[in-house]
């Protein structure tokens, strides 16, 4: 085997390696041949002393596999942490104080007012029913007046109930918004 054949076989055996590494390795063997030739050895002798080029290539490839330059890092997605329940202590204290002194009294007052309105609407309705009952036991003009009053009160009751339904809905929505705002203060970031 001459140098050319040796180098060709070595190049083939090195094919798993990348270009620059192959070029470097081949240069090492070029140098080895040049050094041997300058000492009067024939290409065939040098090639025989070097050994099997396929075996040499296999050793390079094994070393390259055994020590990968940089193991390719698979982008591992970080374990999906449950929404960080990181409590900001200062905000927590503030929210507690806010609710103690403003939130709870305010919302108690609002809901008490609401309950009062419902009671008012209920009593108007009750009054209308009483007037209807009274009208049954009266005769003539008084009965007519009582019935008209009862109808007026019934209409008023219906109006009040409609208003109260909306008011109740707004109040509950407001309370939910208040809770969310408090939570966003404590946990930070946008509230869910």
């Amino acid at each position: 085997m001459n140098k050319h054949q040796f180098m060709n076989q070595l190049r083939q055996a090195l094919s798993p390696l990348d270009g620059p590494a192959v070029a470097e390795i081949l240069a090492d063997f070029e140098e080895h041949f040049a050094s041997g030739c300058s000492r009067g050895k024939s290409e065939e002798t040098i090639a025989a002393e070097l050994g099997d080029p396929l075996e040499i290539g296999r050793q390079y490839a094994e070393a390259a596999v055994a020590v990968p330059p940089v193991p390719p890092q698979m982008p591992v997605p970080p374990p999906a942490a449950p929404r960080s329940p990181r409590v900001r202590e200062g905000a927590l204290l503030g929210v507690i104080l806010l609710n103690l002194f403003i939130g709870i009294p305010l919302w108690l007052a609002l809901f008490a007012t609401l309950a009062g309105f419902w009671a008012g609407a209920g009593s108007i309705g009750a009054a209308a029913v009483v007037l209807f009952v009274l009208a049954v036991f009266q005769a003539g003009v008084i009965s007519l007046i009582l019935v008209l009053f009862a109808i007026a009160l019934t209409a008023l009751t219906i109006l009040a109930v409609i208003l109260m339904v909306f008011l109740t809905k707004w109040l509950f929505k407001g309370l939910i918004a208040w809770f969310r705002w408090n939570r966003s203060l404590v946990y930070g970031g946008a509230a869910a």
Binding site: A27, D28, E31, H32, S35, L50, D52, I56, Y60, A63
Partner: protein, 92 residues
Amino acid sequence: MCPVDADPARPVRLRTASTLSETIQIADGTIYPILRKLASDGQVTTYLQESSEGPPRKYYTITPAGRQTHQALLAEWRHFIQHVHVITGGDL
């Protein structure tokens, strides 16, 4: 394949591939993959120097880490052959 300078003040001349194969039955080509691995592990550094005859010559310099490894491996080897001597009845 050229001799290795450990450092200029105290050159350690390692055997070349050819001298190695004169001593033990080994193909000259075996040394190159090993040298390349030593370089990639940081045990030796290499540099090229232009040569008046032929391609540039590659020189290998042992690093402090390489020297440490060398000492550790030598100690391990001596330890090993001591035990082999004990097992084989102390015959050298």
